[in-house]
């Protein structure tokens, strides 16, 4: 099996700490070089935090695991300079179709609005995603990626984290200011610290079968079947991935024997029943999984910060696992940078816990509801499920009830203390706490996208009047750009004035910025380094923006 991909073997290198007579201390150590740990490490290195990433293995993910990467995750990876390779290699899709028994009952488009840089989703095998992240990580100075370094002990006190690491050359101790734990759902570090992730185990099993086949007549869309003729009484999911590899998920029921069901002689007839006897395919991978929805009570424990599956776990329906883990890193790293530089109080890191616990709670809620719909556990819940599906074919209202997975959308941090609540009236969805939407624009006549020019630091988005920027507003923008702790670079929409320090003149070529942000002359948005909106006003006032900035870094 695995004809299309050979896992790389990354070189082990001995730790410099092995021969050090004095304790070595790093600002940041990340445990786990999966999608979340690598995202965190790259983001940290780009922010100028010297970072060590430790992984107990020496390769990328093996087999068929995460598949769907959502628009928001791609936007984060764009900020880190590595999304384009993933989009080029992956399969772009926006449409999902839902089938019940022998017919399609409805379809949905996850990106009904045009003029966005990134699609709703790409499908890409997890090993490719990780390999692109490793490529990016190895380009960066200040990122020390260590393979075959297994963390076997973690101790912390008020000022320090001490990590014990086992390697082929023996054990070493290393210290850090902060430790990010992204070592997966079974998180050995979580266990070492005596912490728990608690929740609900679902009593069902699913078979994953990856097959290689030519099937160009299948459009690139997500297909979900409830009770299809080829797999009666159960559900099935189909996704196209790179290299003509197709991912099939078959619901098996709780009583299925996982060892038996993953044998090719059991899998191949199921695949043939689905694809037809005439279809040539090669079986690339099969495994059987069960799933859980659970999380830790808190993602921050002193100087140890949990991210990704280590902190929270969801069922696969909705693609909310890796996507939310990438957003954990996105939320955390800019805060760590401000704290490490003494520009923000250490309590800013508590907002990581609050904001991402809110996101995890939403993801778990959605994922649990999807799973309850997909795998009904009583005669009555099955009757309601089937009634919903039968009605959905004919009645629009019932389509809203069909739940084959509520696909990953970013959380809006509605209640975060880092946002400044609206004082002025705005239309649209760009309220404080929201991740910024995207829009096409030009800079110096070059077409580009808003989100490629936001992030890593605080940004402003200012809508100029036809005559340009009034003198008082210009003075405020320039003062904000020179702030020592939180310099603000402002994109100025609709002004030709170039070369003004701290500002970038952008042209709203299709009027999407104005429309999506409800921009009027004088409107100013303040955006966090993770592109979430911190505050917005109809007119610019330096004290107001400074107070919002202070609030956004936990000083408010």
């Amino acid at each position: 099996m695995h004809a299309t991909y050979t896992n790389p073997e990354f070189a082990y290198t001995a730790a410099p700490e092995l021969n050090s007579s004095t304790p070595v201390r790093h600002p940041l150590i990340v445990v786990g070089a999966g999608p979340v740990g690598l995202t965190a490490g790259i983001d940290a290195a780009l922010q100028g935090i010297p970072t060590v990433v430790l992984d107990d293995n020496n390769t990328v993910s093996v087999g068929s695991r995460a598949v769907c990467y959502a628009k928001r995750a791609l936007e984060v990876l764009d900020r880190l300079g590595c999304a384009q390779n993933m989009v080029d290699k992956g399969i772009t899709w926006n449409v999902g179709k839902v089938f019940f028994q022998d017919r399609m009952i409805y379809q949905f488009n996850l990106q009904p609005e045009s003029d966005h840089h990134r699609p709703a989703f790409i499908n890409l095998q997890q090993y490719y995603l990780e390999a692109f992240l490793v490529d990016r990580a190895t380009e960066l100075e200040g990122l020390d990626l260590r393979w075959k370094h297994r963390v076997i002990g973690v101790q912390q006190d008020a000022d320090d984290v001490r990590v014990t690491v086992d390697t082929p050359d023996g054990r070493y101790f290393v210290h850090c200011d902060y430790l990010i734990v992204a070592d997966g759902a079974n998180s050995p570090v979580r266990r070492m610290l005596g912490l728990e992730s608690t929740g609900q185990v679902f009593q069902d099993r699913f078979l994953i079968a990856d097959v290689v086949m030519r099937a160009d007549e299948f459009p690139t869309e997500r297909r979900f079947w409830f009770d299809p003729p080829f797999h009666r009484g159960q559900s099935t999911l189909l996704h196209r991935q790179a290299d003509n590899v197709w991912r099939l998920d078959f619901q098996l029921g709780w009583d299925a024997d996982p060892e038996l069901e993953k044998r090719p002689e059991r899998v191949i007839p199921r695949v043939k029943a689905m694809l037809g006897d005439d279809r040539d395919f090669e079986l690339e991978w099969c495994s059987v999984y069960t799933f859980q929805c659970r999380r830790m009570d808190r993602f921050r424990h002193g100087r140890v910060l949990f991210a990704g599956d280590a902190a929270h776990q969801v069922s696969p329906f909705g693609a909310r696992g890796a996507n939310s883990g990438i957003q954990d890193a996105d939320n955390l790293i800019w805060k760590l940078k401000l704290v490490l530089d003494d520009h923000a109080p250490d309590t800013l890191l508590d907002s990581y816990c609050r904001e991402r616990v809110q996101a995890a709670t939403e993801n778990i809620l959605n994922s649990t509801r999807s799973t309850d719909f997909i795998t009904p556990k009583s005669e009555t819940s099955r009757a309601f499920r089937d009634a919903t599906l039968a009605l959905a074919e004919h009645f629009d209202f019932a389509r809203g009830l069909v739940n084959s997975g509520r696909l990953s959308v970013p959380s809006v941090y509605r209640d975060t203390t880092l946002s400044t609540p609206d004082r002025d009236a705005f239309a649209g969805s760009m309220s404080p706490g929201s991740p910024s939407t995207d829009a096409p624009m030009t800079i110096d006549g070059e077409e580009t996208w808003l989100l490629l020019h936001l992030g890593d630091r605080f940004n402003g988005l200012y809508f100029a009047a036809d005559g340009g920027i009034p003198e008082p507003d210009l003075a405020i923008l320039q003062a904000l750009a020179q702030d020592a702790a939180t310099p603000v670079t402002t994109l100025v929409v609709g002004s030709d004035a170039k070369g003004i320090p701290g500002t970038v003149a952008v042209a709203d070529i299709r009027q999407r910025l104005k429309q999506r942000f409800d921009g009027r002359p004088g409107t100013f948005y303040l955006l966090r380094p993770d592109q979430h909106i911190a505050g917005r006003w109809r007119s610019l006032n330096q004290e107001t923006v400074r107070a919002a900035l202070a609030r956004a870094i936990g000083k408010g």
């Binding site: 929740g199 609900q200 659970r294 509801r369 009757a383 309601f384 009634a387 009605l391 019932a398």
Partner: protein, 90 residues
């Protein structure tokens, strides 16, 4: 018994016997599982027609009252009853 606040509980059916007969007739010649499906479709159609979450949850509470143990709090919003506290059900 729950006191109805949103739900109209005074008599509103002009011909109650006709309605009841139609309801019974809807199930004629169906087995238990077919009837269960038809009931489910009927509830979904009526729920959408009513379209008022307060009325619907009140009706559910009255329907359930006194039957079995009281149900757990439904998870209506992300901040409501955290699912993660349910504990394993295996």
């Amino acid at each position: 018994m729950h006191e109805a606040k949103h739900l109209k509980s005074e008599a509103r059916l002009a011909a109650p016997d006709d309605f009841y007969a139609a309801l019974m007739n809807m199930h004629r010649d169906l087995d238990e599982s077919q009837s269960r499906l038809v009931n489910a479709k009927l509830i979904l159609l009526l729920a959408n027609h009513i379209g008022d979450h307060g009325v619907l949850t009140e009706a559910m509470a009255i329907a359930r009252d006194g039957i079995g143990d009281a149900p757990g709090r439904p998870s209506e919003s992300p901040d409501a009853s955290p699912q993660h506290r349910k504990g394993p059900r295996s």
